[in-house]
């Protein structure tokens, strides 16, 4: 279902230096390919501040995770 494609799902992330992900779930992070920041909807009741990472894990998988800087917690977002 395409509707759920971008929906963030909670994920367990262990962080290293500079709060950069070191593990995602049970996998270790091999490389941080990209890091970006989204700050939006500050004029609404649901402001959005997310620190995104595009990662390659030791299994060779590409993962996109973000840290919700408003409510806290890590999420994964497939299709992003």
């Amino acid at each position: 279902m395409s509707r759920g494609l971008y929906r963030p799902r909670p994920v367990e992330v262990g962080t290293g230096q500079g709060d950069v992900p070191a593990t995602v779930g049970r996998e270790e992070v091999e490389a941080v390919r990209e890091e970006w920041l989204v700050e939006d909807r500050w004029w609404t009741s649901r402001p959005l501040r997310r620190r995104y990472f595009e990662l390659t894990t030791t299994s060779g998988a590409n993962r996109v995770v973000f840290c919700d800087l408003v409510a806290g917690g890590w999420f994964t977002q497939t299709g992003a």
């Binding site: 990209e34 890091e35 920041l37 700050e39 004029w43 009741s45």
Partner: protein, 883 residues
């Protein structure tokens, strides 16, 4: 300047509706972060560059002048390395704006842009950075994967700028493809064998201002924030940040961060000193002699056998000496030349036979009126000897900027004069001064409310309740009262309430100064970019009056004054109706009936003293001569009001009338010479100079600096410096600290706005002359004044055939009772202009009695105690019997 990061790409609010901080804010933030240098690179313009350069200089930083230029639809960052580069940048920006008044196929104005060929022709002296992450000339093809095109464009830039002056620009806005893009750009740099350079593409001075930057983008795109996500920056990382943070951001490209300092170091150009502007006449070695001859010849005409002749000659010698020392003879000759040009234009506009031909083409205002040189060369109509006007405010040996000479003209004459000045000096050498429309409460509420997607009706209600001149507290309270406290707490309204104060005072778009013109010997486009004005055939320099003054430009204010038009029309009407030729320069200045009208506040429609506040004041101050009227004109202004001068002055005048022996109280005896004429209070700008000289020992240059700090919008810090110097100076001269503080508070209060005495004298004279006409030629004067107020509406729009002009003439001021036009026909004719008078707001001061007042005006009787009334004794021959 050692290694470290220097910001080479920053936008201020002069990147209209893109940057969200004033140049001073950016400079202060850069200084706080410890930058040794910082660049300002607004989009396609240098509007804020002078302001920025002076702000940086004051903070001990090197200001780098630059522009983010649109070249063939893509962006390049250009930095000025030397004088030749500055000249080329000005020419490029001017070229970019050439077509901006033409519309695109979909009816929108064209954005500024230059071609790559134009850039190649003007590359000397400029350092080129390859452009921003989103729209940069190389990053756009690099991001889309077309590295061949990126490299080909890069080679073209390399051909124009060489390896010395081309850098590949890397940015880190924290977008998703940053690393990929920067890797691609770094590869291109390697192939071209040029260094990369890091930039921050700063859009605001602090992260908290990023929300306003978002909102500005929405305003610019005429869309709500919800629909502009792809065009916004996406996060707050485009705020000015520390060197350490920037070095961390570019940890993948440390050489690019280090290159910033190397680029900054090689830049020599300082906008505050290297402009190279010379005003026309400065190069003429015979200018001193010509001016002396011109003035000498007129001195004999103006003061033949008069007791003031010796004093006038001495004053002229002294002024000519100061002018020679300052090298300003050419400046005065140029103004004289302009006045002669105005005389030619006046001759064409007025015609030979018109009674208006008796009148000078224009008249001076402002401090220049205090100069005997201006009086003798025709730039001023006020005799400075007879009116005891001091020269210091206008001209002294310590001035750092050229003095202003402001000239008032009737509107019809000014309309023709401005294009003639363009023609005389050439469009490359004469241009109008720019002005910037800045956000006030109402504009901010409307624009930002729309961007936030708030209901249009509610936004308008809040905007209408906002006090135009109110402070932040008024605005916050007013908004909450209008929409209700609960709604005011909702995120969108809260955002509006928070953003409006941030937007307040920031420039929104370029407009045109009412009449300021800059004239240069060399082409103006070598010293400041020029862009077309909204009015066809006119050009604007990209600097406002303050920046032009800082640049030392010769600025001439050709101002349109409605009352001059009214007075001329009145004189013409008197000649037509009564066959009398009035020469206003010869009317008696001690006319009892005129002063009685002034003292009774029967001044509706006359110049300057017709406001409600003036009328209330007139009955209490009861002016008896031109000197009193000069004070009166200057008294009801924000400066004296905020400085607490009005009530003491009125009270002391009353006491003096009752007891001529009344002694004026002064805060300190040293103030008496300066404040004697205004009964111990500060009414004129000149008195600020005199008070600071008398009490704190300021030099003329110091005092002028204080006056400039007072009159500029961006001067809080400067005022604090002057306060300290004033108080310490006064204490050093034995003045009690408390007294010194109190006097300075009066000076600070005055800083709202006040007239120089010379300006007040010029306006006071026009106030007297217009009252004299009102008293002795009431029907003609009121019709002329009425038409000056709403003439454009009624004659041009309502009545293209021009019959309304007759309707507004004296002959139709009242319904003729003795025949002629039948009653109904007259009523039809009269009703048409009346409607438009209402639209124009004419008669507004009659507050609710407007219709009755207009009717009374026509019938010539007093409208039930209202101030709108014709003098009872006024009778105009041939006007029917209604008076």
């Amino acid at each position: 300047m050692g290694a470290g990061y220097v910001e080479l790409h920053a936008h201020s609010a002069y990147s209209f509706l893109d940057g969200a901080s004033a140049p001073e804010e950016l400079a202060a933030a850069a200084s706080m972060h410890g930058y040794p240098a910082v660049a300002l690179t607004d989009h396609d313009g240098l509007w804020g560059s002078m302001e920025f350069a002076h702000a940086c200089k004051g903070l001990g930083m090197k200001a780098i002048t630059g522009v983010e230029l649109t070249v063939a639809g893509r962006h390049l960052t250009l930095l000025v390395e030397n004088r030749a580069g500055y000249r080329n940048l000005c020419r490029l920006v001017t070229l970019g704006h050439e077509e901006t008044r033409r519309q695109t196929a979909d009816g929108r104005p064209q954005n500024p842009t230059v071609s790559l060929e134009q850039l190649e022709r003007h590359a000397e002296g400029l350092i080129c950075l390859s452009g921003c992450a989103r729209d940069g000339m190389l990053s756009v093809p690099a991001v889309s994967g077309d590295l061949a095109q990126a490299e080909s464009l890069g080679r073209r830039l390399l051909g124009a700028f060489g390896r010395d002056r081309l850098r590949i620009e890397l940015q880190r806005p924290f977008w998703r493809r940053d690393r990929e893009r920067n890797r691609a750009l770094a590869r291109i740099a390697q192939r071209l064998e040029v260094p990369c350079v890091a930039t921050g593409n700063v859009h605001c001075h602090h992260p908290s201002r990023a929300r306003l930057q978002d909102a500005f983008v929405a305003v610019r795109l005429h869309s709500p924030l919800d629909q502009t996500e792809p065009d916004r920056r996406g996060n707050a990382s485009s705020a000015m940040t520390s060197q350490a943070e920037m070095e961390w951001r570019f940890r993948d490209h440390p050489e690019a961060a280090a290159e910033t300092a190397r680029v900054a170091e090689r830049i020599e150009f300082d906008l505050t000193t290297d402009l190279g502007y010379r005003y026309p006449g400065a190069e003429d070695p015979g200018a001193d002699r010509k001016l002396a001859e011109l003035c000498g010849a007129r001195l004999a005409d103006r003061y033949p056998g008069r007791s003031e002749e010796t004093e006038a000659a001495a004053r002229l010698d002294e002024e000519l000496r100061v002018i020679r020392v300052l090298g300003l003879s050419g400046f005065f000759l140029l103004h004289h030349e302009l006045l002669e040009l105005a005389r030619e234009v006046a001759h064409e506009v007025r015609g030979d036979s018109s009674v208006r031909a008796l009148m000078p083409p224009g008249r001076g205002r402002g401090s220049s009126v205090s100069s005997i040189v201006c009086y003798l060369t025709g730039l001023s109509h006020i005799d400075p000897i007879r009116n005891k006007l001091l020269l210091g405010r206008f001209l002294n040996e310590e001035i750092t900027a050229l003095p202003d000479i402001d000239l008032d003209f009737p509107r019809d004459l000014r309309e023709k004069l401005i294009p003639r000045v363009h023609d005389r000096f050439g469009r490359e050498r004469a241009a109008l001064v720019a002005a910037f429309s800045t956000y006030r409460w109402r504009g901010a509420i409307r624009d930002l409310g729309k961007a936030l997607g708030l209901p249009a009706g509610d936004v308008e209600r809040v905007a209408r309740t906002a006090d135009v001149y109110g402070d932040l507290e008024d605005f916050m309270g007013g908004a909450a009262d209008t929409i209700g406290a609960r709604r005011a707490r909702s995120p969108r309204w809260q955002a509006l309430i928070e953003l409006c104060p941030e937007a307040y005072g920031l420039p929104r778009h370029v407009s045109q100064h009412p009449g300021g013109m800059v004239i240069a010997t060399e082409p103006l486009i070598d010293v400041c970019p020029v862009q077309p004005s909204a009015m066809e055939g006119r050009n604007l320099v990209q600097w406002d009056k303050d920046s032009c003054a800082d640049a030392g430009f010769l600025k001439i204010d050709l101002l349109g004054l409605g009352m001059l038009s009214a007075v001329e029309r009145c004189v013409e009407e008197i000649a037509r109706v009564r066959d009398q030729r009035i020469d206003l320069s010869r009317v008696p200045y001690d006319d009892t009936a005129t002063y009685e009208a002034i003292q009774m506040a029967e001044t509706t429609g006359v110049f300057q003293i017709e406001s409600r506040a003036q009328m209330q004041s007139l009955r209490r101050t009861r002016p008896e001569n031109l000197d009193d009227l000069t004070v009166q004109v200057a008294l009801v202004r924000p400066g004296p009001i905020q400085g607490g001068a009005v009530h003491p002055y009125i009270e002391r005048r009353k006491r003096l009338r009752e007891d001529p022996g009344f002694e004026i109280p002064y805060l300190h005896p040293a103030l008496e010479p300066a404040l004697k004429d205004t009964l111990g209070v500060i009414v004129f700008q000149d008195q600020v100079l005199e008070v600071s000289t008398a009490l704190a020992g300021f030099s003329a240059g110091d005092a002028e600096g204080l006056r400039r700090a007072m009159s500029r919008k961006r001067s809080d810090a400067a005022m604090a410096v002057y306060q300290q110097r004033f108080v310490e100076g006064a204490v050093g001269r034995g003045v009690d600290r408390d007294i010194a503080e109190r006097v300075f508070e009066q000076v600070r209060g005055f800083s709202g706005f006040g007239f120089p005495k010379a300006h007040a004298a010029a306006f006071g004279l026009l106030a007297y002359q217009s009252t004299w006409l009102r008293v002795h030629y009431a029907p003609e004067f009121l019709c002329a004044a009425e038409r000056a107020a709403d003439g454009l509406l009624s004659t041009r729009f309502a009545d293209p055939r021009g019959t309304a002009a007759r309707d507004h003439g004296a002959a139709s001021a009242r319904q003729p009772r003795g025949g002629g036009v039948p009653g109904r026909a007259w009523a039809r004719r009269a009703s048409r202009p009346r409607i438009h008078r209402r639209r124009a707001g004419a008669g507004d001061r009659c507050a609710g009695r407007r219709a009755r007042a207009w009717w009374a005006l026509r019938r010539g009787r007093r409208p039930g105690g209202a101030l709108w009334c014709l003098p009872r004794h006024a009778r105009a021959p041939g006007l029917g019997r209604g008076m």
